[in-house]
């Protein structure tokens, strides 16, 4: 009796079970999404609506947050503003209604570009180095292989911030503070351990007969690696790249400590938009909303690989 019931539930979950599971997943998704939706709503609110109590769900959308995000403004007397010509675009119009004029562009775009360069740069480097070392660990008899792999993993066992002061001093001495290169190298070195471990698992699963066949067919080992191993490791590479990118994109502590005027990334910049004379939450929310876009796009593009990537090895053929 018991075994029959078990067998049944393993083969095909009942409709009730499936509905219950579905409800749970939807509920979880909603709970996770509420803060994000709230941020996006706030981005389109006026500063007054953003801090009104009770919070407004229905409101008149405004682009003031985005204007304040991308510009710097200076306060002027109403007489001076009236003496000016017609407003130059939407943002100038909004600024004038608050007795301000647009003084110039903000630093958001250069900070965002820094984030893009540093996050994608370090991801590419970490994944490239990770793939090569994972292949080496997977295919060759490396002396002290297990110890080396453990050592690589052990760099992940402490919070990276524990080494912040030494790195700060080191970077100051060799001139890497506040440079994009410095941040790329730093994030690469943090991510490469994750990349090696993840990718080694994937490459171990690719039978070595494929490369051997290619090598007998007239290819060198490196050519066989490129032609045969890489195409089959795309799933693992994509999953690893997403994990690396998310880390580098979101990293805050090192960015605060090591960057300022030149190589500052978006995470330390967004909180300081908060502004003078009143807290400009719509601008912060607008900065955060735009900050989410690259990760969302990247993840959506690679989602097929990601799903297979994180469940890899769980299901055996």
């Amino acid at each position: 009796m018991t075994s029959a019931t078990t067998a049944h539930s393993v083969v095909e979950p009942s409709t009730t079970t499936r509905r219950f599971a579905g409800t749970l997943v939807v509920l979880y998704a909603i709970i996770t999404m509420i803060p994000l939706v709230w941020i996006m709503l706030t981005a389109f609110k006026s500063p007054d609506d953003a801090i009104s109590y009770p919070p407004k769900v229905m409101f008149k959308p405004s682009l003031e947050g985005f204007c304040n995000l991308f510009t710097t403004r200076s306060r002027q007397t109403p007489e001076f503003i009236r003496s000016l010509g017609p407003p130059q675009g939407l943002c100038d119009d909004i600024a004038r209604s608050r007795n301000m004029v647009v003084a110039g562009p903000s630093n958001y775009v250069p900070r965002f570009v820094n984030s893009l360069i540093i996050a994608f740069g370090s991801t590419v480097l970490a994944v490239a180095l990770g793939t090569l070392s994972a292949y080496g660990f997977s295919r060759f008899r490396v002396p002290l292989k297990d110890d080396l792999l453990f050592f690589i993993l052990s760099t992940r066992m402490m919070p990276p911030i524990a080494v912040a002061i030494p790195i700060y001093l080191m970077y100051r001495t060799i001139g890497l503070s506040d440079t994009r290169l410095g941040m790329i190298l730093l994030y690469t070195s943090v991510n490469v351990s994750l990349a090696v471990w993840l990718l080694k698992g994937f490459i171990d699963e690719i039978p070595r007969e494929y490369e051997e066949a290619a090598m007998i067919d007239g290819y060198t080992r490196f050519q066989a690696f490129v032609k045969v191993v890489l195409p089959q490791a795309t799933t693992g590479i994509a999953a690893t790249a997403i994990f690396c990118l998310i880390f580098a994109w979101n990293e805050y502590a090192f960015a605060v400590l090591l960057t300022s005027g030149n190589a500052q990334t978006a995470p330390p910049f967004i909180p300081i938009i908060i502004g003078e004379g009143g807290q400009d939450w719509p601008a912060v929310a607008a900065g955060t909303t735009l900050f989410l876009v690259p990760i969302v796009v990247f993840t959506v593009l690679l989602r097929k690989h990601l799903l297979r990537g994180i469940t890899f090895g769980a299901v055996r053929k």
Binding site: E212, A213, M215, I216, Y219, T220, P231
Partner: protein, 335 residues
């Protein structure tokens, strides 16, 4: 095509001696099969010739040239793997063209296309060329795997149990086809298998390998009729040769410890033989029957005519008819 000469090659993996002092010459256009159980060192021999492993000692010459230290790509050999031989991310055509597209060959695209189509026709897979390699049946996959090797004209084809993952019927078909192709192309093939039927039907010579040592090499007939020891004798013949203590029979030559009796060495009758045995079980195979006998507590398996009408519990008499004799260590003793 060329001659391949393996001289005193040994290889160990850690403490395991995979191959000891293997010497073997495969003549131009010859089909040699290495027959042995799993772990006998057959695959190691192929991998050494291909250059996927380096021998601890000894040398390998292909077409008179010493290739012992050469990279696999420089040896001009083709390898058919037991499995995993097709690239899952490529189509059948691309799989077969893969070797021809190697940077060292620089073959014109038109020639590649022509060659792949020619081989595909030979293997009856010309309609499957645009399929992904993973969309094929087991038999088709194995044909493509063989096709991958056939598009080239290497010095030697190395085949590692290419048919073992197929079902019996397909295996029979491909066995015939492979032999036909080998004869047509005059190809030199070293074929590794644990299936005696494959070795017997396709090979011009069989090398019996056991525990990393080449025990005996010769034509299928020689190996079958004149095995040098009991191991080799037990490798060939269906049902397996019956190894019985010589003491059970009168008149064995001096020094003979074991008598090897195949079906053709045993005459079964209702009475009047040298020794009597009890029928334990009869397996009907259709055209013939396997007779399981109990001879003084030892199992004996032999073939019988279904018409003979033996049944479980019958007492029969056996007569030996020029059997094989082995000494205490299992070596052959002349009759």
């Amino acid at each position: 095509m060329a001659e391949v000469e393996i001289k005193a090659v040994s290889k160990a993996f850690g403490k395991t001696q995979a191959l000891s002092d293997l010497s073997l010459t495969i003549g131009d256009g010859e089909f040699v099969a290495l027959l042995g159980p799993t772990g006998a060192g057959k695959t190691t021999a192929l991998r050494l010739i291909a250059g996927l492993e380096q021998p601890d000692s000894g040398s390998i010459r292909i077409d008179g040239r010493d290739v012992t230290g050469d990279a696999p790509a420089d040896r001009d050999v083709a390898f058919v793997f037991q499995q995993y031989s097709l690239y899952p991310h490529l189509t059948v055509f691309e799989n077969m063209a893969f070797a021809l597209r190697a940077p060292t060959r620089r073959m014109p695209e038109a020639d590649i296309r022509a060659k792949v189509q020619e081989v595909a026709r030979l293997l009856h897979i010309e309609t499957k060329l645009d399929n992904k390699a993973t969309q094929l049946s087991g038999g088709q996959m194995q044909r493509v795997a063989i096709g991958r090797a056939l598009v080239r004209s290497p010095s030697i084809y190395l085949m590692d149990e290419p048919l073992s993952s197929l079902d019996a019927k397909l295996r029979g078909e491909l066995r015939l086809e492979l032999k036909r192709i080998q004869v047509d192309l005059g190809a030199t093939i070293l074929y590794v298998t644990h299936d005696q039927t494959e070795a017997m039907t396709m090979a011009s010579r069989i090398g019996v390998i056991e525990g990393g040592r080449l025990m005996q090499i010769g034509t299928p007939r020689e190996i079958y009729e004149n095995p040098i020891n009991a191991h080799v004798a037990a490798r060939l013949g269906q049902p397996t040769i019956n190894l019985l203590p010589a003491a059970l029979f009168a008149g064995a030559p001096v020094g003979v410890e074991t008598i090897g009796a195949r079906t053709e060495h045993l005459t079964i009758a209702r009475g009047g033989g040298d020794i009597s045995a009890t029928v334990k079980r009869v397996e009907h195979l259709g055209d013939q029957s396997h007779l399981h006998l109990d001879l003084a507590g030892r199992p004996v398996v032999t073939l019988a005519d279904p018409e003979a009408g033996f049944g479980a519990g019958d007492v029969v008499s056996l007569r030996l008819n020029r059997p094989l004799f082995f000494d205490a260590k299992g070596w052959r003793v002349a009759a």
